[in-house]
Structures are given as structure tokens and as C-alpha cells.
């Protein structure tokens, strides 16, 4: 069974229908490349997957479980959407690092906030446990609980920091741990952004034209990092203009045009034997641009 299953996604902005029924599926550990001309709905699709936009229609299944159903509005409150988002990571075209934090803090911030919330909830439940106990017992229980809490806090902190160090190593920026974003090149910033997105261990990592804002000589280092992430565990969706990258790295390619999937298949099928005329025209055009 497919790991991710998107069914009939529709999205309208006012009168403008940007997604006109998109369905696709993806297996665990696969890389999906989404190509197509600008304005076709690629970015909107990615934003819908990350719930930055809420689709008007459609469903999303993750690992066989219904994660999102546009028709069940009651289940799509702010807090619930926030929880659903955690299954997805997103790397932006413009990096969007937090400028006031170091590279390390950028990576650890969200996990730390989540951990704090968990500890707070734990504290509350501990307090509940103590209620109604006799005085002596209460005291003993409280001492025990605060010990557990301190251990939990330390453990979480250590785990978050260790994970951040590992991720920095993976994107090749261990030496930039304490630098601020403005001190980094665009390519380095994007690599930090990738590490930041991975810190929360999303099920699926999405990239929105990750190299479009970079100077040509910097795109290579970012693409190399993305390629390096490929493993049986990490599932990725990459919206890209880099046809070579899509051809060489992706397992599956989708060509989106005018809010619909015009063509899909393996890179070989899409790039070498495109069936649709639109795909042929698009590929011809992007080939010309490269020369």
C-alpha cells in the first residue's frame, strides 16, 4: 500500500481554481519530483500538503490512515491542523530562517517548544495524581515526580541537541553551528533550512523550488544534500525547475499543468517518452532554456 495517498485535491482562490482535482500516491522512501511551468499549481499543491492552505475538497491518507478530509470541517480546527502539519516538513524557496537565532537555535527551536509543551502537560497530570493524597504521601510523591520531571527535561534537551548536531553534520555545516543566518551564503542557508525541517522528523519532506533563489554555482551543494538524504526511510516531494535533478534523482515524476496532472510516471517515461503534447512542449522549452 502507498505511504502517501492524495485524492482529488481542489483549491480555489476566489474565482480562480488553482488545483482542479489532483490525485497521486507515493511509496515510502521514494522521491517525487513535481515539474511544470509557473502558475500551474505546483507550489499551491505543496502548500496544501503542508496545510498552509486548506484544500476545499479532497482527502489525504498517510500510512493507510485518513489524515485529512476536507469535508470534515469540525476536525480541521487550528490546533488539529497544527498537529497534522507535523507529519510534513517544508523547505522554502526563500529559506526563511529566523534571523535572530544562530544556526543551532534555528534547528532546535521548534523541537524545544514542543518538548516544553509536553513537559507542561506532564506536570499538570502529575498534579492531578497528587490530589487527595494524605500529606506525608503527597510529599514523597511530589519529590519523586520532580525527579522524574528533571530527568525527562534533561533527556529531551540532550536528545534535541544531539539530533541537531547530527543534522548539521549531515548537511555539512558543523562548523557554522554558532553563526547567524546573515553570515551564511544562500546555499548554506538553504542547507540549514533543510536541517531545521528534518529536526522534527517529518514523515514526508517537501521542497518548494529549493534552488530557485540561489546563484547557479550554489545550486549544486543543495541538490547534493537533498540527494544524500535519499534512503529507505525518507520520503520526499520536490517541486523543481532542475530537470537534470528530477531525471537523475526522482523515482517518480509528475507534470502539472493548469491545476491538473498532465502526465506522470518514472523519470524515463516522462522525460524520454512523454505522451501528452503539453509535456512535450514544456520539456522542449526547458531544454532550450538550458542552452
Amino acid at each position: 500500500m502507498a505511504f502517501l495517498e492524495v485524492n482529488n485535491y481542489h483549491k480555489k482562490f476566489g474565482e480562480n481554481e488553482v488545483l482542479k482535482g489532483i490525485s497521486f500516491s507515493l511509496n515510502k522512501g521514494e522521491i517525487l519530483a513535481v515539474i511544470g511551468s509557473s502558475g500551474g499549481g505546483k507550489t499551491t499543491l505543496l502548500r496544501c500538503l503542508n496545510f498552509l492552505e486548506i484544500p476545499d475538497e479532497g482527502t489525504l491518507l498517510l500510512d493507510g490512515k485518513m489524515l485529512f478530509d476536507a469535508s470534515e470541517k469540525k476536525k480541521n480546527t487550528d490546533a488539529q491542523i497544527r498537529e497534522k502539519r507535523l507529519h510534513f516538513g517544508l523547505v522554502f524557496q526563500q529559506f526563511n530562517l529566523f534571523p535572530q537565532y544562530t544556526v543551532f537555535k534555528n534547528i532546535t527551536l521548534a523541537s524545544t517548544l514542543l518538548a516544553k509543551q509536553n513537559i507542561k502537560e506532564k506536570k499538570r497530570s502529575f498534579k492531578q495524581e497528587c490530589k487527595g493524597l494524605p500529606k506525608e504521601e503527597k510529599k514523597a510523591r511530589k519529590a519523586e515526580q520532580s525527579k522524574v520531571l528533571a530527568e525527562l527535561t534533561d533527556g529531551l534537551k540532550k536528545r534535541i541537541e544531539e539530533r541537531a548536531e547530527q543534522l548539521l553534520e549531515r548537511v555539512g555545516l558543523s562548523d557554522k553551528r554558532d553563526a547567524y543566518p546573515y553570515q551564511l551564503s544562500g546555499g548554506q542557508q538553504q542547507r540549514v533550512a533543510i536541517a531545521r525541517a528534518l529536526a522534527l522528523e517529518p514523515d514526508i519532506l517537501c521542497f518548494d523550488e529549493p534552488t530557485s533563489a540561489l546563484d547557479p554555482e550554489l545550486t549544486g551543494e543543495v541538490l547534493k544534500v537533498i540527494k544524500g538524504l535519499k534512503s529507505s526511510e525518507s520520503t520526499m516531494i520536490v517541486v523543481t525547475h532542475e530537470m537534470e535533478f528530477a531525471k537523475n534523482v526522482a523515482d517518480h515524476v509528475i507534470f502539472i499543468s493548469d491545476g491538473m496532472i498532465e502526465e506522470e510516471g518514472t523519470p524515463r517515461e516522462v522525460f524520454e517518452h512523454p505522451k501528452s503534447e503539453k509535456t512535450q512542449a514544456f520539456l522542449r522549452k526547458s531544454l532550450e532554456e538550458n542552452f
Partner: protein
């Protein structure tokens, strides 16, 4: 000669008392107008169209009329229109200043908040942060950095605007000095500049310090 020396110290001391009133107006205005301005800023950015329009019209009226007029309206208005008692003079002045400056601050805040790119909010969202976490942990410090220069302008203007309080006979420093001119002594009036310059000098240093403190990152 000795008479003149005593005179100088006397004036210095009297002006210092007036300077105390000036500082009181200044400090009270900041304490209340800084948070009130933030509330107005959120109002002017609200999704509720009615609230947004009400706030915008209010800010337009306050920024569109002289502060001196507002002081007069707040002091005399309730008594003349509804036959209520007069507010304490200094209270009336502070109320007028707080309302006036909150409106100016609200526009500075709004400009700062709206200048933060949408990408910062979205980055927070996809990392599972709540709205308040995004505001306090991601956006706020960037806004502060952006608004320090325009805020230092407003705050320095406030120092000198306090002299408007004399319109309802509040004994701030310029009023004290002006009373000397009526008695034929003009130099105390010019002497007040020393107090103002000193005050603004300290504020300038303070704002430079804050700017430097926030220089470790760029937005």
C-alpha cells in the same frame, strides 16, 4: 554679585522643579501609551472590518488635530458639555498625551509588524508552532529591531511636546521659565534648553545602546 548668584541658583532650582513635572508627563505617557499603542495596532490590523474602521478613524482624528487642542478638549470638554467637575490638570494632560502618543505608536508598531515577511510566519507554522509562539519567539524581536529608529524619533519629540501642558497652566519647566519673562527676566527661558538637551542626550545614548545590542542579527 552675590544677589545674582543666589538668583541663578534659585532659578536653577525652580526650573528643576518644573523639569520634574516634565519628566512625570514624559514617563506616564510612555508607561501607558506603549502598551495601548500595541492594542490599537492590533485593532487596526484586525480581520473584523468594523473594529478596523473604528480604530483607523480614531487614529486619523487624533493624528489630524493638534495635541494642544486635545489637551483643551479633555480638560474643558467634560465640564462644559456635561457639567461634570474638572479633572486634575496634570491628569488631563497625561490622558491627552497617552491617547495622542498611543495613536502615533500604533502606526509605528503596525509598520514594524507588517514589514515582517510572510515567510517567517509560514516557517513557524510548518514547524508546528502556535500563533502566539510565532509572535513571541519569531516575530517580536525582529519588529523591535525595525521600530527602534522611528520610536526614538517619537520619544524625543515627546520630550519637547510636554511643553504644551502649560496651555492649561501645568507647571512644567517651560511654564516656570515663561513666568520669569512676565516679570522681566528673559534668560531663564533660554536656560531651559540646557535641561531639554541633557534629557534628549541621555535618551539618544540609550537608543544608540539598544540599536547596538540588536546589531548581532540582520532582518
Amino acid at each position: 554679585m552675590i544677589g545674582k548668584k543666589i538668583m541663578f541658583w534659585q532659578v536653577t532650582l525652580n526650573l528643576f522643579e518644573g523639569f520634574g513635572v516634565t519628566c512625570l508627563i514624559f514617563a506616564a505617557t510612555l508607561v501607558f501609551a506603549l502598551p495601548l499603542g500595541l492594542i490599537l495596532a492590533f485593532g487596526s490590523m484586525s480581520k473584523l472590518k468594523v473594529l478596523k474602521s473604528v480604530v483607523k478613524v480614531f487614529v486619523w482624528i487624533i493624528r489630524g488635530t493638534p495635541l494642544m487642542l486635545q489637551i483643551l478638549v479633555i480638560y474643558y470638554g467634560p465640564a462644559l458639555l456635561f457639567h461634570w467637575g474638572f479633572l486634575d490638570r496634570i491628569v488631563a494632560v497625561i490622558v491627552a498625551f497617552v491617547i495622542n502618543y498611543a495613536c502615533y505608536f500604533s502606526e509605528v508598531y503596525r509598520g514594524g509588524i507588517e514589514s515582517i515577511s510572510k515567510g517567517q510566519y509560514e516557517a513557524g507554522q510548518v514547524l508546528g508552532m502556535t500563533k502566539s509562539q510565532i509572535f513571541f519567539k519569531v516575530v517580536l524581536l525582529q519588529v523591535v529591531k525595525r521600530i527602534v529608529p522611528p520610536m526614538s524619533n517619537e520619544v524625543i519629540t515627546l520630550v519637547k511636546d510636554t511643553s504644551l501642558a502649560r496651555i492649561i497652566v501645568v507647571e512644567e519647566i517651560l511654564k516656570v521659565a515663561y513666568d520669569y519673562t512676565v516679570r522681566g527676566l528673559i534668560w531663564p527661558l533660554f536656560y531651559t534648553a540646557v535641561y531639554y538637551l541633557f534629557f534628549v542626550g541621555v535618551l539618544t545614548l540609550l537608543f544608540n545602546f539598544i540599536e547596538k545590542k540588536l546589531n548581532y542579527f540582520r532582518v
